[in-house]
Symmetry: C2
Subunit: 241 residues, 2 copies
């Protein structure tokens, strides 16, 4: 399971690069495989598939590995954060393949870190990472998490804030957070981190919904002490400067 | 601000490597600089300092940059997660140096990702990152965060779980979490990720305090659905397998 970082080949770790080069077969979501052009060699077998086919990819990878092939399953960001490490490991356990297959997760720079780096220093204090996708999780559970994170004054990082079919979740999340935080709490939106079309906006809880937010965006909501200065979003760690 | 990942040079991204090579001066906590042996060249000026001297390092880096030098400030893991990005950016704003200095955060693989990769797939669902260090944050605030995260059924990653002087915080955290989670909730402890002496233990809320936990450890507490299989800690994402 190889985390390739947010997008640009320069964000790959040496370990990830080596794991990809050693693999006989590369399995992954097609757009992520395209990010690796120039890294993979023409002799390597590449199996790309479409959106929401995580389970099919995981099954294929487990089958290939059980048949003795060296497989790299590609995740963008970190393979361990909403990535492919989970489904592959779960399937491997279920299939009884654990005895036959050597398994390794190669971590990557997760989207939260990459987005934070562009915004300034929003994650300098405790933070919560929440996916707004309710495909696999009931919306009530997600809402409870948002409420808990807002109440606990965590900086909140929303993965999957919006898709073509899921439009209103981020607005509901905003309503919940506004019960606990000021309308001028800074909000950063980073879209397509490290990829063509990268966009960066710093707004606030009051106004951020009028900005472009899509399935390639990450939304970072500051805590009660976060502020914006010189165009950077900063959450103070508490040093007396 | 350069995040060098958890420890091993192989965890550096290509971008981080390039930033370090381009720097005239490298500033950082001495043990982190030692991890970079073999990466830095003898011509580069290296300024290492001791523990808890983050502010001194940040000031020095800002002064050097304002005087026209190209400076890399090194953080282990991700520079943006409890790292040096915050204090440097805050000081830069205060000193009025923002106009004269070009500033960039190069993200790295944060310790949570690196620890999770070794444990299996514990961060496959929403998680909260909490530092147990009360040097800069009142303990009551930290306790409230722990309570919120426990109540919200987040996987919880504790940074700085224990030091020589801070011994009891992790025990208090455990008490709070036990109000909301079963005693057999899995807990992973990873110490010195990617560095000499790396240690890995999977235990549970009931028993994990009897394990070695120190200032180089990260403690990962599963959510209500996390489980251990074949020696891996897994938080299911919700796929029907």
């Amino acid at each position: 399971m190889v985390g390739i970082g947010p997008g640009a080949p320069e964000d790959l770790s040496g370990r990830a690069l080596e794991a990809l080069r050693q693999a006989e077969v590369i399995v992954g979501y097609r757009p992520y495989i395209r990010l690796l052009e120039g890294v993979l060699s023409p002799e390597q077998e590449v199996i790309g598939s479409g959106m929401r086919q995580e389970l099919e990819r995981a099954r294929l990878a487990v089958d290939l590995a059980c048949s003795g092939r060296r497989v790299a399953v590609v995740s963008s960001g970190d393979a361990g954060v909403y990535g492919m490490a989970g489904p592959v490991l779960e399937l491997l356990g279920k299939s009884g393949g654990r005895d036959r297959v050597e398994f390794q997760v190669v971590p990557g720079i997760t989207a939260a870190s990459a987005a934070a780096a562009l915004l300034g220093a929003p994650l300098m204090h405790d933070f919560a990472v929440i996916s707004l996708s309710d495909l696999l999780t009931p919306w009530e559970v997600i809402l409870q998490r948002i409420e808990a994170a807002a109440k606990g004054d965590f900086v909140i990082v929303f993965y999957n804030p919006r898709s073509k079919k899921r439009v209103n979740q981020i607005g509901e999340a905003r309503e919940v957070i506004l019960k606990y935080r000021r309308p001028d709490t800074p909000v950063g939106i980073v879209t397509s981190v490290g990829r063509p079309g990268q966009m960066l906006v710093i707004s606030d809880l009051n106004g951020f919904l009028s900005q472009e937010i899509n399935m390639h965006s990450l939304v970072v909501v500051g805590n009660s002490r976060s502020y914006v200065r010189d165009g950077f979003l900063i959450t103070p760690r508490g040093y007396r400067l």
